[in-house]
């Protein structure tokens, strides 16, 4: 390393590994696995991670909003609601502990300085490699009162205990959105009035948007030939 001062500088500038949320690793560059490496990139190992938590000041209106939210929650005796704050690409993401989700949503909706009264639904994302935090529920809330600003709440739950409190009581519009997320990811929204499948048939087995959901392959008409499922086809890494 000392022979190459340039390289040393590059390493120093790089983000320390493990600072962000690691969602996977990537090997090689061209997607050829299991055969001889002719590309020279086969030894390439990259850790895929999201941007690390942000520190104050966040910029824009984000500081005021987070301060007000913390204050409102502290008045209720809640100090551990926000796991971390992430500002990336000009968007504010609050990671919320699931026990505190309803209190946070209620505060965001009702406090006159926050007033995020329009919920844009919930969406699931499945990160199988993120041990103990495999299933994420992502909420987008918009304030009609304050300038149409919006923020994102993210709640992570483990795969073996995929329970979240339902937000239907705070935002009635969450009804179908939570049903869809249950249908697609198997996240259980406790307290939802009728958490049933909505897009898939009622007797369907499995939750199709999960990364471990098996995809079917299609038999083609040529003798003995099959097209492998989309997730097993050769692809670029």
């Amino acid at each position: 390393m000392s022979e190459h001062p340039d390289q040393g500088e590059l390493t120093a500038q790089a983000r320390p590994a493990g600072a962000g949320e690691v969602i996977g690793t990537r090997q090689g560059a061209f997607g050829a696995h299991g055969s001889g490496d002719t590309s020279g990139f086969g030894g390439l190992n990259q850790v895929v991670e999201f941007a690390p938590p942000s520190a104050k000041p966040y910029g824009s209106w984000f500081d005021t909003a987070v301060d007000v939210l913390e204050e409102v929650l502290a008045d209720q005796g809640i100090t551990d609601a926000i796991e971390k704050v992430n500002v990336d690409r000009g968007e504010l993401t609050l990671f919320i502990r699931r026990e505190r989700l309803v209190a946070v949503a209620q505060a965001l909706r009702d406090d006159p300085d926050l007033r995020f009264e329009l919920s844009l639904g919930v969406n699931g994302v499945h990160y199988p490699q993120d041990a103990g935090r495999e299933l994420h529920a992502v909420y987008h809330l918009m304030s009609v009162t304050h300038d149409r600003r919006w923020l994102r709440l993210e709640v992570a739950v483990p795969d073996d205990d995929p329970h979240l409190p339902s937000l239907v009581g705070v935002y009635p519009t969450q009804d179908w959105h939570e049903r869809e997320t249950y249908d697609m990811f198997g996240i259980q929204f406790d307290g939802h009035p009728a958490l049933t499948r909505i897009l898939m048939p009622t007797d369907w087995v499995g939750h199709p948007q999960r990364k471990d959901y098996p995809l079917g392959g299609i038999d083609v008409q040529f003798k003995g030939a099959t097209v492998p499922p989309a997730d097993q086809r050769r692809s670029y890494s």
């Binding site: 919920s119 994302v125 918009m142 300038d147 179908w176 959105h177």
Partner: protein
């Protein structure tokens, strides 16, 4: 002898109640009605009813003519588009997004590409001509979508003429789409980085030629329905939902604007340069089906104003790039109409086949592998013809999306059905549904 598949199978593993799917809740409802011997009828409307805008199932519990309970069944058109997107490149995603709400296809592409560009951090690098073309196409799509909403609503109320007039004007827009993109619907014209190609020769002239007749047609249409006593009898005071109800149910688009709130992201959070256009946000204060149609009808004429401004801007700007300059993202191929009516631009083919090996490699890599988007997530919402259309995209740094989710306004707004219909008559169910203007391709995705 009761053997075979009908016989209950003893199962030592089985514990508790066994639920069997088949027939669903329909038999339970019928049994309950028979048991109570009430004047109560359950009407199963759809999923193949012509006025349910595609495959939507409504289970209506009736007391005489009055609807006492409305239940909505969706999912008949679920095709897993979001899942499919995870196995296609970022560019191919545009061709999938377009198939969701197929009545306003180009707007779905718009929301998708804007979210992808935000995720890739190239939002401010999109060339001006591409921005104008996007606005032009999205506004034409809005008019086309509103025409279908109004025309099919008229048809469902028995006025076939309304539909023929609406579809006549829509036809001009689809002709223009076909000229520019090659297809009438499902265009895949907006791509991450810009648009697929510039306007072909004569397309702008065609638009300018049909423009006056379209404005006249839209005015005729407005005159024909908005003061029409039959239309007013069917829509005024029907399917009311006030602002508080809209906020609670997350209703956006013409429905919320009909309550008087000028919630329009084109003004509030401008994208694609909407801040440079002169137009009004249309509202009404009746909060009923009539108000929603009034908003749509006025909105179409405001959109025509934007279209006129787009034409002026395109002519003033002259020839300019329509795809981002960054070669790491820009689609390398150029299209042109060859002697056979289709194909690649001969200059580009010449360059990659006999000019430069590097160009060929670059073309091949970008087209087959695609570009990479840095890890992270982004959300972008646009003002779709049906309401607020939000796209949440997640990337793991690869050449394909890790997760794409569309917050579809039709899907969300359909939740209002029971609020709109309960307590009304069955004939108003059709009006209520048409005033939401759901498109099942978008609802079920």
């Amino acid at each position: 002898m009761t053997t075979g598949y009908l016989a209950p199978q003893p199962d030592a593993e089985l514990d508790g109640t066994e639920y069997v799917a088949g027939g669903g809740d329909w038999k339970d409802i019928a049994d309950e009605v028979a048991r109570r011997k009430e004047e109560r009828v359950v009407v199963n409307m759809g999923p193949q009813h012509p006025s349910t805008h595609g495959v939507l199932r409504l289970v209506l519990e009736m007391d005489g003519e009055t609807v006492t309970e409305t239940r909505v069944g969706v999912g008949f058109l679920h095709t897993g588009i979001e899942k499919t997107m995870e196995y296609r490149t970022w560019v191919q995603g545009s061709a999938l997004a377009t198939r969701m709400d197929y009545v306003a296809s180009i707007m779905n592409e718009g929301a998708y590409v804007l979210a992808v560009e935000k995720l890739a951090g190239v939002t401010d690098q999109i060339p001006e001509r591409a921005q104008i073309l996007r606005v032009l196409m999205m506004e034409l799509a809005r008019i086309s979508s509103h025409l279908v909403a109004l025309g099919s609503a008229g048809n469902e109320l028995g006025g076939t003429t309304l539909m023929t007039i609406a579809f006549r004007e829509r036809e001009q827009i689809l002709r223009f789409f076909e000229m520019v993109t090659g297809q009438r619907m499902n265009n895949a014209y907006l791509r991450p980085g810009g648009v697929a190609q510039d306007l072909p020769d004569g397309a702008l002239d065609f638009l300018k030629r049909v423009y006056p007749s379209m404005v006249r047609g839209l005015n005729d249409f407005d005159n024909m329905i908005m003061a029409n006593p039959i239309w007013k009898l069917r829509t005024v005071g029907i399917a009311e939902l006030n602002l508080a109800g809209c906020m609670a149910l997350g209703i956006t688009g013409p429905m919320v604007r009909a309550t008087g709130l000028p919630l329009d992201l084109r003004k509030d959070a401008p994208y694609s340069g909407y801040e440079n256009y002169d137009f009004e946000v249309c509202t009404a204060d009746t909060a009923d089906a009539y108000g929603r149609y009034l908003v749509r009808s006025n909105e179409m004429r405001e959109s025509m104003k934007i279209v006129a401004q787009c034409i002026d801007k395109l002519e003033a700007l002259g020839p300019a790039p329509v795809m981002i300059e960054d070669p790491a993202l820009a689609w390398p191929a150029k299209l042109s109409v060859g002697p056979d009516g289709q194909g690649q631009a001969p200059e580009h083919v010449k360059e990659i086949m006999s000019g430069s090996m590097e160009s060929l490699i670059h073309h091949f890599k970008l087209v087959t592998e695609g570009f990479r988007v840095p890890p992270g997530q982004a959300f972008h919402a646009i003002e779709h013809a049906k309401g607020m259309y939000g796209v949440h995209v997640v990337s793991d740094g690869g050449t394909r999306p890790y997760r794409v989710h569309m917050r579809e306004p039709s899907y969300n707004n359909l939740q209002a059905m029971s609020v709109l219909c309960d307590g009304g008559t069955i004939s108003d169910v059709v009006v209520a549904l048409a005033s939401i203007d759901p498109v099942m391709g978008g609802v079920d995705r």
